[in-house]
Structures are given as structure tokens and as C-alpha cells.
């Protein structure tokens, strides 16, 4: 999935929001925005959207002298999601098909990042309930169910904070269902957007049977070419890989190894690439 110009506009819009968040002085804001736009000379037509990211976010980190631009939002979304963890667990337990519901909840978690703005916990619960009633637009859950029956290892590539709580509910369910399944959770190496880093993972109260690793990525998604050396065998040898969110989809959808992609089609460009409606829920194997 290569960039088109709307990806550039989208990144500029996100830069705008971040600059407003950290810079009070108008002239300084414009000075910084100009520096960011100057980086457009690095944009090439064959890049995938997440590869535009360093020229925007890493550069902003430097210019704003803030290492983790979304630290506050990450903590807030984790906190909010943890507050309703029991609700998510009950929704899964009480559903007619907890396995299918678990997949769906992990996808619903993917949309929570930008719906949290200003909504109360009660609204969040309603929002989740509404989406839980909807169908997956691509639904490879049955293939996944058959495969996991025989699998010994599962690698789960995380996306956003907040969402991670939904992921953990799903993974804890899978662990109970398949006690012999070895589950590894792969997070980002360094802070990028609101993505979960290995350090973020370690701060959460996570089932000790899960192995936590860093993939090596400092982009808002994973790409095979940017995996760190120690992570490569984990990725190659896992019986099943589940990839969460749009960034991981962008970077891995064309990979040669089989991967399940679980995400919400949040952006119009991705939705049209997937031939899916915006905000539809996707659970799709790449081959």
C-alpha cells in the first residue's frame, strides 16, 4: 500500500495538531511547520504511509525537544480502557461465540484511540456494544480458528495504547482456551504516536505466561526490513501471526509469510485500498 497525496495531507494535519499541543507562540508554530514541510523532499511515490512518519514525528520530537509526543494520551487511553476491562471481559464471556467476539473486540479496540476524545466511560461502553453487534466486513475468523487448534506459537503485533487492553482480554481468553499455546506480544521499540512500546507493555499488569518483545520498529507500524535481528526468528517461526491496526497492515500486508490482519478501516484511503467501507471491521489473512 503505497502513499498517495492524501497521506501527505493527513500527516501535515497531524503535525498541525501536535505543534498546537506543544507550542504557544504563533510565529514559532509557523517556523516549526515550515521545517516539517521542508522534509517533503524526502517523500517518494513508492513509500508506504508509515514511512512518511520519521520526517514528521521524529523531526517534531527533535524540534519540540519531546521524546514521547503522545505520552499523556497513551496513559489516558490505557487508564480509560483499564477502567472498563471487566466490562470487555464480560462482553466476551457472555457472548454466544466468545472466540469470534474476542477477535471483534480486539478490532473495536483499534478504533478507541480517536473516539476517546471527550466521551465518557458510559459512552465508550455503548460505543463498544454498538460495534460488537456489527458484522466483520472481511471475516477470516473460521480459518484462524482451525489454524489455532493446531498451533504451538502465536505472535501478536500490537498497535495503540488503550487498544492493548482489548488485545489482552482476547489473548487471556486464548491462553485459557489453549493452555499450551506460547503467546508472544511484539511491541514497538521506541515511542511513535500512541503506539505501545515494549516499555509501555512492561508497565501493564500482563499475564506472566506471555513473552514480551520489541520488534525493533520505531515507525507507527512494522515492516520486515526494519525488524531487529533478535526479533526475526520470532516472526519467522511463529505458527500464527496476528497484526493489529493500520500501520502494521501498511508495512506487512504484502509480506510472504501468512499473517492475520485485524483492524478498523479508519482512513478513507485505506478503506478504498481494501475495497471496504470506512469504519468497517477487518479480519483478513494476507494469503
Amino acid at each position: 500500500m503505497e502513499i498517495d497525496i492524501e497521506c501527505i495531507t493527513c500527516f501535515v494535519k497531524q503535525a498541525e495538531k501536535l505543534i498546537h499541543k506543544f507550542v504557544r507562540n504563533k510565529d514559532e508554530r509557523i517556523r516549526i511547520m515550515k521545517k516539517i514541510l521542508k522534509n517533503s523532499k524526502k517523500f517518494k511515490a513508492h513509500l508506504v504511509p508509515i514511512e512518511l512518519s520519521p520526517s514528521i514525528y521524529h523531526e517534531l520530537s527533535k524540534l519540540l525537544k519531546v521524546e514521547d509526543l503522545y505520552e499523556e494520551e497513551k496513559n489516558l487511553t490505557n487508564q480509560k480502557a483499564l477502567e472498563i476491562k471487566l466490562f470487555i471481559e464480560n462482553l466476551l464471556k457472555e457472548s454466544g461465540d466468545p472466540f469470534h467476539t474476542g477477535v471483534k473486540l480486539s478490532i473495536i479496540g483499534n478504533i478507541v484511540d480517536y473516539t476517546l476524545e471527550g466521551i465518557s466511560e458510559m459512552n465508550l461502553e455503548n460505543f463498544i456494544r454498538e460495534f460488537e453487534k456489527k458484522q466483520l466486513f472481511y471475516d477470516d475468523v473460521e480459518i484462524f480458528r482451525q489454524e489455532i487448534e493446531k498451533a504451538e506459537t502465536l505472535l501478536y503485533l500490537t498497535d495503540n495504547s488503550g487498544e492493548i487492553v482489548f488485545d489482552l482480554v482476547f489473548l487471556e481468553y486464548l491462553q485459557k482456551l489453549y493452555p499450551n499455546l506460547e503467546i508472544t506480544i511484539g511491541a514497538k521499540e521506541k515511542p511513535i504516536l500512541n503506539d505501545v512500546t515494549l516499555d509501555d507493555l512492561k508497565k501493564l499488569d500482563i499475564n506472566q505466561s506471555f513473552t514480551l518483545v520489541s520488534t525493533g520498529s520505531d515507525l507507527p507500524g512494522n515492516q520486515e526490513k526494519s525488524f531487529k535481528k533478535e526479533f526475526l526468528p520470532v516472526y519467522k517461526n511463529a505458527d500464527i501471526v496476528i497484526s493489529k491496526g493500520q500501520g502494521n497492515f501498511e508495512g506487512l500486508f504484502e509480506s510472504s509469510r501468512p499473517i492475520y490482519f485485524a483492524l478498523m478501516a479508519k482512513c478513507p484511503y485505506l478503506a478504498s485500498f481494501l475495497k471496504a467501507p470506512e469504519k468497517s471491521m477487518i479480519f483478513k489473512k494476507n494469503q
Copy 2:
């Protein structure tokens, strides 16, 4: 009203739309977008938003080899508005206070440019009727009414195509009410966005008692410093000046001569500058 970074983002978004409109090849689209973004080196904190325009639109005209980027939209909106001219005239005539309604209709015309997308004529009529029921957020109509009673000359600075039909209904009403009032209509010099140019004006069937002039501007708004020599006395000597739309507001609101600004607060940045809600209707004298 000086730019902030959201004005930059907004212009980038508009460039994106135009590039998609004219360029089929993705690599070529990215090449052109990068050229546009390179122009950001010209952006300075004290510019008013319309002054960002040449680096975007004039540059796009050159790169795309299209002189009038919005020719099609201009013709379409004029055509649609002309089809309902009688409806607008009747709305004015049948209202309890045609003078006040005329002001309001001219402002409603200012929002028609971006509501026309995909709406039928019937919806357009409903849309106008809905807005006609609403109050002006700033309402200097009574001061204007008192002033026009004594005025000999009125200069009317136009904004968009489509909107111009609403303006003409209002001006024809004023002409009937004040047969001795000399009305001059000032349009842009060269194509810029969907703004009415002097050439566009001449193509319309306009009451021959009106004088049609170009202000000299090739920006999507007028500024005193960019008026052409021949236009300056028209502007200086007019008893009353009415300025339509956001671009003219940006360029003229801080002028030393009295001007009535008639516009819809279309963009969030302008709305916050005016301390008005978005989409509110403004009829405000600058002093």
C-alpha cells in the same frame, strides 16, 4: 487576521483536491505536491491567509498548465444559482422585511459554494429557506439602512461564483429602492479559486445601471495594497462599501475606511477570530 498553521494545512488540503482533479498518475501527483510544499519557505507569520494563495494556486496553475482551475465549478454554481434566481427573488419580495432579508440572502449565497456538492436544486431551496429563518450573529443591518438612505454611491466587492446571483438579487432590490444610488460591482482581476472575475461578471445578464470594475486582485480576496491604480478612487470615494466573503474580510477588515462585511463564518479559524460559531452569518461594520 494573520495566518496560523491550520491555514497552511487547509491550503495543502485544497491543493490535494485540485491535484486529484487534474492529475491521473500517482507519481506525478506526488511530484507536484512536493513542489507545492516546497513553497512553504515563502510563508511568513504576519501574512493573512489569502496571501498563502499564490504559492499554492498560481503555482498549481503553472504546474498543471490550467489557467482557471475552477472554471467548471464556477460555471456549474452560476448555472445552478441562476436556475433558482426567481425563487431567491420571491423569498426577498415575500419577506416581512425585504431589506434585511436581502442582506441575509447575500450571506447565504456565500455558503452555497461548498454545499452544492451533490445536492439537488430542491435541497438547495430548502437549505436557503432554513438559513433564511436564522438570525445574523452580528447584525449591523440597521446602521447600514440608515447610511444607505443618505448615500449616493455603493461599492460592492464580490466573492464567489454562484453567490454572485444572490448578490445581484440583493443589488437589484437596492437599485429599485434607491433609483439614484450609483452601484459599482468590483470583481477579481484574474481567475483565482471560484471567485468572480470581471470577465465572469460580463458573461452574466447584469442590470445595465450597475458599473462593473476589476479591483486588480488576483488573490481570493482584496487588499488595499493590491488594488490597481484605476480602482483606488472608486474604493476611496464610495459612500458605502460592502465586502462579501472570507477572503475580502481577511484582506480588508483592518482597513481604515468603513466597510460592511457580509459573510458566513465557514472556517473554524475565522469563526474563532470573530468569536462567532462556525456557519454563523455575519454582517459587521469594521468601525
